[in-house]
Amino acid sequence: MAGNVDALYIFLVLLAGFMCVAIFTMIVVFAMRYRQRRGQQAEPIEGSVALEVTWSVAPLAIFMVIFLWGAIIYFQERTPPRGADEVYVVAKQWMWKLEHEQGQREINELHIPVGRDVKLIMTSQDVIHSFYVPAFRIKQDVLPGRYTTAWFHATKPGVYHLFCAEYCGTAHSGMIGQIVILEPAQYQAWLSGGLTSGSLAANGETIFQQLGCPTCHRFDTQGRGPNLTGIFGKPVQLEDGRTVIADENYIRESILSPAAKIVSGFKPIMPTFQGLVSEEQLTALVAYVKSLSPAPSGAKPAPGTKPQESKE
C-alpha cells in the first residue's frame, strides 16, 4: 500500500514541480524581458478565448486522472481483505488499548507477524482520536460511539511509529506507540511469552452469560430475541421493512440502543446496556457474536502459514 501511495505522490511532486517551474520561469522571463524601458510601450492585448479554453480544459483532464488514481488507492485502503486477522482498538485520553483475537492485550504497542493482512476495528472511549501509522500510509479517525476500520499489510519487520493524529487534549502528542512487525518465529515466541486469559470471543461468551443474554437470545427459534447464530455479515430484515447488514456497528448499536433497529417479528423488549458495559467488554461481545458465524471456508489460514499474495 505504501508503494501505491508513494507512486501517486511522486507523480504529483513531479507534476507540481513542473507547473511551478513553468510558471516561475514565465514570471521571471517576462519580468526581465518586458521590464520598463524608455520609449518602449506595452502592447495592448485583450485576452484569448482559445488560450482560456486550453488552460481550463487541460488542467481539468489532468485533475480527473489524479482523482481516479487517488480514488482507486483510497478504495483499497478502505476495503479490508476478507479473512484478515482482526485487532480491536480502544482509544482513550491518552493511550491506545489493543486486543488480539486470541486474547492478548497490549497498550501503546501492537505486535504483528510480517506478511499478514490486519484489520483494525476501532472505537474511542471519550473524544475523537486518529490511528496513524505513517510507515503504512494509513490513518483513520477513531470515534466514540461507533466502530471505524482500517487495515494494513506489513512487508518488512521493524518498529514503526503509531501516532494519534486528531487533536484530543493535553497529552495528544504523548498518545503515541509503536507497531512491532515480527518474523513469524519471533511472533510465536512473543505469543507464548504473553499472558492471556482466553481468546477475545471466549471472554465475550463469559460476559454474554453473565449479563443473562442467553435467556432471550437462545440458540433455537424459541427465544424472545433473535437467535444470533450465523447472523454476522448477513442482511437482517427489520420490523419497519428496512434491511441492514449485521456488521460490527449494528451489533454495537443493538446492545447499546436495542430499540433503534428491531428485527422483524420481535418486540422492542430488550433493555439498553448503555453504561453497563465498558468499551472492552463491548468489543469482546462483538467478537463473540461474530464467532457464532463461521468464517468463509479457507479465508483465514492460521497465523504462521504461507502468507497470501503481497498487497504491496
Binding site: Y34, A42, Q76, H161, A165
Partner: protein
C-alpha cells in the same frame, strides 16, 4: 495628528474633523476602514506572538518551553485570532471598505451606519476574545471538534464561541453592505463589465459571507448549547453525532478560506495590470472565475473529512468536486502571468508582493491537489503537510495580497509615500522568511509528523529548526512595514492623486480623498484597465527623501 501638515492646503477625510468622537461616531467608510486597520493590526501581532511561541517550543523535540496545556491554547488562539480577527476582516474590512465605494464611483457604502455597527461588533467580539485569552484561554483547537469541545475541554470554550459568533455578524454585515453597494450605487456608465476585478472579487466574497457565516453562527450556538445546557447534539453519549459537527463546521469553514483568498486575488488583479501597463489578460475569465470559486466553494467541505469516518462514496464525490474548484484558481494564475507578457514592467513594492503572491499561491494550490487525492490525503491529512498547505494559501496568498494592497493604496489612504527601498527589502524578507518557515513543513508532513504536537520524535528536529529560523525572519518582514508606514505618515513624501499612473476611479480623486470621495460623481466612458490610454508616470516615486512641502 500626522496629517496636520496638510490642513493648510485642502480639506480631506482625515482633516475634516478631529477628536475621538469624530472617529468613533463616523459613518465615513474611509475612516471606518482605518478603525478596522488599527483593530486588525493589533490582532495580527497578538496572533503572530502566539505563532512565535509555538515555533520556539518546537525548536526542540521535548516539550520544554511551555506546558502541554499552554501549547494547546497557543495553537488554538493563534488560529482563532488570525482567522476570525485578522484574515477574514483584513482585506474586505480595510481595503474593501476604503475602496469599494470609490471604485464603483459612490460617495459611501449603501448603509454607512451598518458599516460602523459592523466595526463595533468586531470590537465587542475582540474584547470578549481578549478577555478569554487573558483569563485563561481556550484549548479546543480553532476547529472546536466535538465531543472534545463540548464535553472534555476544561477551558473557556463558550466565551471563545460567543466571541467568534459576534465577529461573524460583523462579517455578514460587511458582506451585505458590499453586495448592495455594488448592485445599486455604481456611477453612471460603470457597467458590470467595466467593474475592476477587485470589485468582482469582493462581490464573490460577500456572497460567501452572507450565505456561509450564518451556518457557522448556528454551529457555534449548538456547541454552546451542548456545553452549557447539556443538550445532546454532537456528543454520542448524549445521543448526538460528532460527525454532524464536522459537516456543519466545514460547510462554513471551507468557503471561509475563499473569504480570505478571493479579496487577495482581487488586489493582485489590480496591481499586475498597473505595473505591467497593460489591460488584464482575459478580464471576463478572471471575473467569472471569482464567481465560480464562490459557488463551487460551497460544495467541497467534506474533503476535510476523508479519514473522519464518512462513506467511501461521499468521499469520492467530494474529491471530484474539489478538483472542479481548482480549475478557476488555475485560470486566474494563468491569466495573471499572461498579463505580464509584452508589458512594460516596473518592480515597485506592490508588484513584488503580487509576484510573490502568484508564486506562493501556486504552490499552495498545487499542494491542494495532493490533499484532494483521496489516497494521498489519508496519509498527509492532520500532519504538517496540511499546516504548510493552508499557510501557503492563507499567509503566502492572503497576507501577501493584503500587504501588496496596503503598499499600493497607502498613498491614497494616507496621502504619503512609504519608503520604496525599505518596502522592497521588506517584501523580499517576507518572501524568503515565509518559504523557509513553511516549505520544510511539507516534508515534515510527508515524513509523518502530526500537527498540534507539543513534543515530537527527535528525527523531525532538523526541519523544525529550519522552520523556526524562518519564522523569525518572517517576523522582521512583518514588523518593518508597520514601522515605516507609521514613519511615512509624518515624514513620507507627499503623494499626488495618482502616483502609480493607475486606472481605477479611486485614482481620479485627490490623495487623501475628500469625505465625499469625488468633487462630482464621475461618468465612466471607458473600459477597466485602459492602460494603453494612460501614460506611465515619468519617474517612479521612491519616497525616501523626506519632504515637508
Amino acid at each position: 495628528m500626522a496629517t496636520a501638515a496638510l490642513t493648510a492646503e485642502r480639506e480631506h477625510y482625515l482633516n475634516t474633523d478631529y477628536g475621538i468622537r469624530s472617529w468613533l461616531l463616523t459613518t465615513d467608510h474611509k475612516r471606518i476602514a482605518l478603525l478596522y486597520l488599527v483593530t486588525i493590526t493589533l490582532f495580527f501581532f497578538i496572533g503572530g506572538f502566539f505563532a512565535l511561541l509555538i515555533r520556539l517550543e518546537l525548536l526542540t523535540p521535548a516539550g520544554d518551553l511551555v506546558q502541554a496545556d499552554t501549547y494547546n491554547k497557543l495553537f488554538t488562539m493563534h488560529g482563532q485570532v488570525m482567522i476570525f480577527f485578522f484574515l477574514i476582516p483584513s482585506i474586505p474590512a480595510v481595503l474593501g471598505n476604503f475602496l469599494v465605494p470609490m471604485m464603483v464611483g459612490a460617495k459611501d457604502l449603501a448603509f454607512p451606519r451598518i458599516n460602523l455597527l459592523s466595526w463595533y461588533l468586531l470590537v465587542i467580539a475582540g474584547i470578549i476574545m481578549l478577555h478569554c485569552i487573558i483569563t485563561g484561554g481556550v484549548d479546543s483547537g480553532w476547529t472546536f471538534y466535538t465531543p472534545f469541545s463540548t464535553a472534555f475541554s476544561n477551558t473557556k470554550v463558550i466565551e471563545a464561541g460567543i466571541a467568534i459568533f459576534i465577529a461573524g455578524f460583523s462579517s455578514i454585515l460587511t458582506g451585505l453592505n458590499f453586495v448592495v453597494t455594488i448592485h445599486r450605487m455604481r456611477a453612471p456608465g460603470m457597467t458590470w463589465s467595466r467593474l475592476p476585478l477587485f470589485i468582482w472579487a469582493h462581490y464573490a466574497t460577500s456572497i460567501i459571507q452572507l450565505l456561509g457565516t450564518p451556518v457557522l453562527a448556528v454551529t457555534l450556538l449548538l456547541v454552546v448549547f451542548e456545553r452549557a445546557f447539556n443538550l445532546g447534539i454532537f456528543d454520542p453519549t448524549r445521543g448526538g453525532d460528532p460527525l454532524l459537527f464536522q459537516h456543519l463546521f466545514w460547510f462554513y469553514s471551507h468557503p471561509a478560506v475563499y473569504i480570505m483568498i478571493l479579496p487577495s486575488m482581487g488586489v493582485v488583479a489590480e496591481i499586475i495590470p498597473c505595473f505591467s501597463r497593460k489591460r488584464i489578460f482575459g478580464y471576463s475569465a478572471v471575473a467569472m472565475s471569482s464567481i465560480a470559486i464562490a459557488v463551487f466553494g460551497f460544495l467541497v467541505w467534506a474533503h476535510h473529512m476523508f479519514v473522519a469516518g464518512i462513506s467511501l462514496y461521499s468521499a469520492m464525490i467530494f474529491s471530484i468536486l474539489s478538483y472542479l474548484v481548482a480549475v478557476p484558481s488555475a485560470i486566474k494564475v494563468f491569466n495573471w502571468t499572461a498579463t505580464m507578457y509584452k508589458g512594460s514592467i516596473r518592480f515597485n513594492t506592490p508588484m513584488l508582493y503580487a509576484m510573490g503572491f502568484i508564486g506562493l499561491f501556486t504552490m499552495g494550490g498545487l499542494t491542494g491537489l495532493f490533499l484532494a487525492a483521496l489516497g494521498i490525503d489519508v496519509h498527509v491529512t492532520d500532519t504538517y503537510f496540511v499546516v504548510a498547505h493552508f499557510h501557503y494559501i492563507m499567509v503566502g496568498g492572503a497576507v501577501m495580497g493584503y500587504l501588496g494592497g496596503m503598499h499600493f493604496w497607502w498613498p491614497k489612504i494616507s496621502g504619503r509615500m512609504y519608503p520604496e527601498w525599505l518596502g522592497r527589502f521588506a517584501a523580499l524578507t517576507v518572501f524568503l522568511g515565509f518559504n523557509l518557515t513553511f516549505f520544510p513543513q511539507f516534508i515534515l508532513g510527508y515524513l509523518g509528523m502530526p500537527r498540534r504536537y507539543w513534543q515530537y520524535p527527535p528525527e523531525f528536529q532538523v526541519l523544525n529548526v529550519m522552520s523556526t529560523a524562518g519564522s523569525t525572519i518572517l517576523a522582521v518582514g512583518y514588523v518593518l512595514p508597520m514601522v515605516y508606514f507609521l514613519w511615512s505618515m509624518r515624514y513620507g513624501k507627499i503623494a499626488d492623486a495618482n502616483p502609480w499612473g493607475a486606472a481605477g476611479l479611486e485614482w481620479k480623486t485627490a490623495s487623501p480623498p475628500p469625505t465625499s470621495n469625488f468633487e462630482e460623481i464621475p461618468e465612466v466612458t471607458w473600459e477597466a484597465y485602459n492602460y494603453h490610454e494612460i501614460p506611465a508616470p515619468e519617474e517612479v516615486p521612491v519616497g525616501l527623501q523626506p519632504t515637508r512641502n
